[in-house]
């Protein structure tokens, strides 16, 4: 993992080309984390992938998380890996929910798709769209992948109920009504 000075150097170099992109850096359980504003995530990823000396060319995983009471609500995690130096770096893109800011309730959060940079993100971005409703601009085919196409709702958001049925037992019904 890039250590603390290395991480600050990365932040400094990105800030030169794209000011205001990196919001924060951190270390979470020995993993270097770059917290990025989601509007500028694509240039940051391109810089990390292409710049000599860094070259995080392998995207291990692209997933999202919902931090509901906190704001901004969503964060998209990009787990990058440099296989030659065996180093992992996490880029966390914070994304606010437009429907909570008093706008139209149907507005979905949007972010740029990184499919041209990392073709592996194809299915993974569709999965994030399917579960959270985050729209990736520029994705070739953004449709639901795991749920039926006509499903309504974004299941993995924290305010979506788990569903299922309550289990009723025969004797409890008779005794307790």
């Amino acid at each position: 993992m890039p250590d603390a000075p290395g991480l600050e150097l990365i932040r400094g170099e990105i800030e030169q080309d794209h000011p205001g992109a990196v919001l924060d850096t951190g270390f979470a359980q020995e993993r270097a984390v770059l917290v990025v504003d989601s509007a500028q995530v694509l240039p940051v990823l391109r810089w990390l992938r292409d710049s000599p000396g860094h070259e995080y060319r392998f995207l291990s995983s692209l997933h999202a998380a919902d931090y509901l009471p906190a704001s901004p609500r969503f964060a998209i995690h990009y787990e990058l890996l440099n296989r030659d130096r065996v180093e992992r770096l996490r880029v966390k893109a914070l994304l606010a929910d437009p429907s909570s800011a008093g706008g139209a309730t149907e507005a979905l959060p949007e972010v740029d798709s990184c499919v041209e940079l990392f073709p592996t993100a194809d299915f993974q971005e569709r999965e994030v769209f399917d579960f959270f409703g985050i729209v990736f601009r520029g994705h070739p085919d953004l449709t639901r992948i795991l749920l039926p196409e006509d499903y309504v709702g974004w299941p993995q958001r924290r305010d979506f109920p788990v569903g299922g049925e309550p289990v009723t037992f025969t004797h409890s019904e008779r005794r307790y009504g």
């Binding site: 359980q29 995983s61 787990e79 993995q156 924290r158 979506f160």
Partner: protein, 396 residues
């Protein structure tokens, strides 16, 4: 007349190889555009066994998540337990004792052999070598006997817990495992003798389904598929987790990247896994099989009648569970199909706020289009077998 025949030979027909099909390894639906027998385009439709496991995990305490999580990729259940338990152990910064590390390694490698055996049996079934199923499942039943001896159940054993393994191995286990280890290389040689010089098998798998190494890396493919294409990338050697550095094993790597190389890589991996199990069994250290920290690990039952504190710890752990402070972690291991990563987001309560699995079959399925477009439909079925997707992991 001439126009009619021209139409008939250049017409593209869309065929649905539906979720119920004898060769789709689970409920995978393929919408295939065919021109004659040649595949022109392919689109996998998945989600037919989507179980909402990640959502269910958010509603259960940390130790109750373990049975949910092991049912994702249902052939490599120990790997999912290891990914999740390892992630939580990193979050709470808990060290597991060396005996637990070696025991976990033994069971992980046994599960790798088991997964490859089922793969070989079912892929043989798809390609027409039907007798492979019975031979491979004979060995598989021996491995399942070992699992049952240690953990009480053949599949989905809930054997790994946060802090180590739930119980130590019983008395006859080592003897039976040594018999299995002595037997396994002979059996792998028998499988090779059955398939390696079979003319039909060779012509169906050699130079079929080739994808270049760079394209595979772009698509995020890992595991035996990447190693068959010539890239020696294995997370067991790259990120030394769970004491794999104590063992001496090789990583089989292919040259061309066709289906035959994938078959050979997996067979060689079975032999290497047997060697790891043997070394782990020889060097198994004495000691506790689970960590000692009573805040996260249940105290042994023999202490409950005599110690009040043990009773209180037990009560707290079973009813509410332990709380894990705010943090997030991504921990990846090498499962039989590639990189299996677990992301856990903890928010300070006793239930995880988000559990996400980066499943290798889900990402590897993106390479299927590249493997099959331009080849015959029979080659597509062979490539699907060699790709080894497990739809439980793909759909979660």
């Amino acid at each position: 007349m001439a126009e009619l025949t021209a139409d008939r030979t250049t017409e593209v027909m869309t065929v649905n190889i539906g979720p119920h099909h004898p060769a789709t390894h689970g409920v995978l639906r393929l919408v295939v555009d065919l021109e004659g027998e040649v595949v022109r385009d392919l689109e996998p439709v998945i989600g037919y066994v989507h179980t909402g496991i990640e959502k269910s995990c958010e509603n259960h305490p940390y130790w109750k998540v373990i049975p949910f999580v092991e049912r994702m990729d249902y052939l490599s259940y120990f790997f999912q337990m290891e990914a999740y338990c390892g992630a939580v152990e990193r979050l709470i910064e808990l060290e597991i004792p060396p005996r637990a590390k070696y025991l976990r390694t033994i069971f992980l490698e046994l599960n790798r052999i088991h997964s490859h055996l089922v793969w070989l049996g079912t892929t043989g079934l798809d390609l027409g070598a039907i007798s492979m199923l019975w031979y491979c499942f004979r060995e598989r039943d021996k491995i399942l006997d070992l699992f049952e001896m240690a953990a009480g159940q053949r599949m989905h054993t809930r054997y790994f817990q946060v802090g180590g393994v739930i119980e130590d191995i019983p008395l006859g286990f080592e003897k039976k495992l040594r018999e299995f280890i002595a037997d396994m290389p002979v059996r792998v040689a028998q499988y090779e003798a059955l398939l390696d010089r079979n003319e039909i098998f060779l012509s169906r798998t050699k130079n079929v389904g080739i994808v270049s190494r760079e394209r595979l890396l772009e698509l995020g493919v890992t595991g035996p598929l990447l190693r068959a294409a010539g890239e020696p990338w294995d997370l067991r050697k790259a990120f030394d987790y769970l004491s794999y550095s104590d063992f001496d094993f090789k990583i089989p790597v292919g040259t061309v990247g066709d289906n035959y190389d994938r078959y050979r890589v997996r067979l060689a991996e079975m032999v290497e896994s047997t060697r790891i199990v043997e070394q782990a069994l020889d060097g198994l250290p004495e000691g506790p099989h689970i960590a000692d920290d009573r805040k996260y690990v249940l105290p042994p039952r023999s202490e409950l009648p005599v110690s009040m504190e043990a009773l209180i710890h037990h009560f707290k752990l079973v009813t509410e569970g332990y709380r894990v402070g705010p943090g997030e972690v991504y921990y990846a291991i090498e499962s039989p199909r590639g990189e299996l990563g677990c992301f856990v987001l903890a928010d300070g309560s006793s239930k995880p706020a988000r559990v996400h699995f980066r499943d290798p079959s889900f990402v590897n399925l993106q390479a299927f289009r590249d493997m099959s477009v331009g080849s015959y439909i029979a080659d597509m079925i062979a490539s699907l077998g060699m790709l080894d997707p497990i739809l439980g992991g793909v759909d979660r």
